[in-house]
């Protein structure tokens, strides 16, 4: 006897396990990153030396801060989805796997929030 109903035990354990939405999100974020990545590297290339004034002037414009914000969020999401697959492929022990996955996702979320706040702070003007 178990506390869990037979239905509860099998729900979410089907062959697909929501894998298709994971696959799809990985692709959508990849397409977004093609554009955001080219924008980011291309912009850095026009900065010519990257003095503080140049960088804040560039990132301070509304369009550029919006794109930088998107880059941070989308890259973290894409990396999270990707690293999850890598971890699932190489870490077979269930407990260790869960722990590693939680650690990876925590680290990415913290980094994404720090990055997003940094972009907002630049957008609204760094208090010098």
């Amino acid at each position: 006897m178990s506390l869990r109903s037979p239905l509860g035990r099998v729900l979410g354990l089907g062959s697909a396990r929501g894998g298709s939405s994971h696959w799809y999100a990985q692709r959508v974020t990849a397409v977004a990153l093609v554009l955001l990545g080219i924008w980011f590297v291309g912009s850095l290339a026009t900065l010519d030396g990257g003095s503080y004034e140049q960088v804040t002037g560039w990132l301070g414009s509304p369009l550029n801060s919006a794109l930088a914000l998107l880059l941070v969020v989308v890259a973290a999401y894409h990396a999270g989805l990707g690293l999850q697959v890598v971890v699932e492929d190489y870490v077979s022990d269930n407990g260790t796997r869960a722990a590693v996955l939680v650690a990876v996702k925590f680290a990415l979320v913290v980094a994404a929030v720090v990055g997003a706040l940094a972009v907002l702070r630049i957008a609204f003007g760094v208090a010098a």
């Binding site: 692709r27 990849a30 397409v31 990153l33 093609v34 990545g37 080219i38 590297v41 850095l44 290339a45 900065l47 010519d48 030396g49 990257g50 503080y52 960088v55 804040t56 990132l59 930088a68 941070v72 890259a75 973290a76 990396a79 990707g82 690293l83 890598v86 680290a107 990415l108 980094a111 994404a112 720090v114 990055g115 706040l117 940094a118 972009v119 702070r121 630049i122 760094v126 208090a127 010098a128």
Partner: protein, 131 residues
């Protein structure tokens, strides 16, 4: 009773082809880029922290070790970008013909190397190399 033959894990009997290397490189560069993401955040936080913090970060990123890391990240980005686009075409069902897949593999690798060199030469100044 005779032991039935068990299936072997694919990597134990697949013949090596250079396209395998391209795939594993996509994975390796993906992991490297994920580490590079933390450098990006560090850099953004430094910009947000004001001119002094930014100058500190620049000299930190300008150290030989970090320049090497950044070069690795730049190459990883270019490779992952090019091969990622190749993957997206596969996902749409194009380019599975063996000949096409091999040719696109070579183009991808070549484009990634050239792009990485261009990016590095153009960006060195902005990435702390000139600091």
């Amino acid at each position: 009773m005779a032991q039935r033959e068990r299936p072997l894990s694919p990597f134990l009997h697949y013949r090596w082809q250079y396209t395998n290397t391209l795939s594993i490189l996509h994975r390796i560069t993906g992991v490297l880029l994920s580490l590079g993401f933390f450098i990006l955040v560090y850099w953004l936080a430094a910009v947000a922290g004001g001119p002094e913090r930014y100058a500190e970060a620049r000299s930190c990123l300008g150290s030989p070790l970090l320049q090497l890391v950044m070069f690795g990240a730049a190459f990883a980005f270019c490779y992952h970008l090019c091969n990622g686009i190749r993957h997206l075409f596969f996902d749409m069902g194009y380019g599975f013909e063996l000949k096409t897949a091999r040719a696109s593999g070579w183009y991808t690798a070549g484009a990634a190397v050239v792009l990485a060199l261009v990016v590095w030469i153009v960006l060195r100044g902005s990435l702390g190399g000139g600091a």
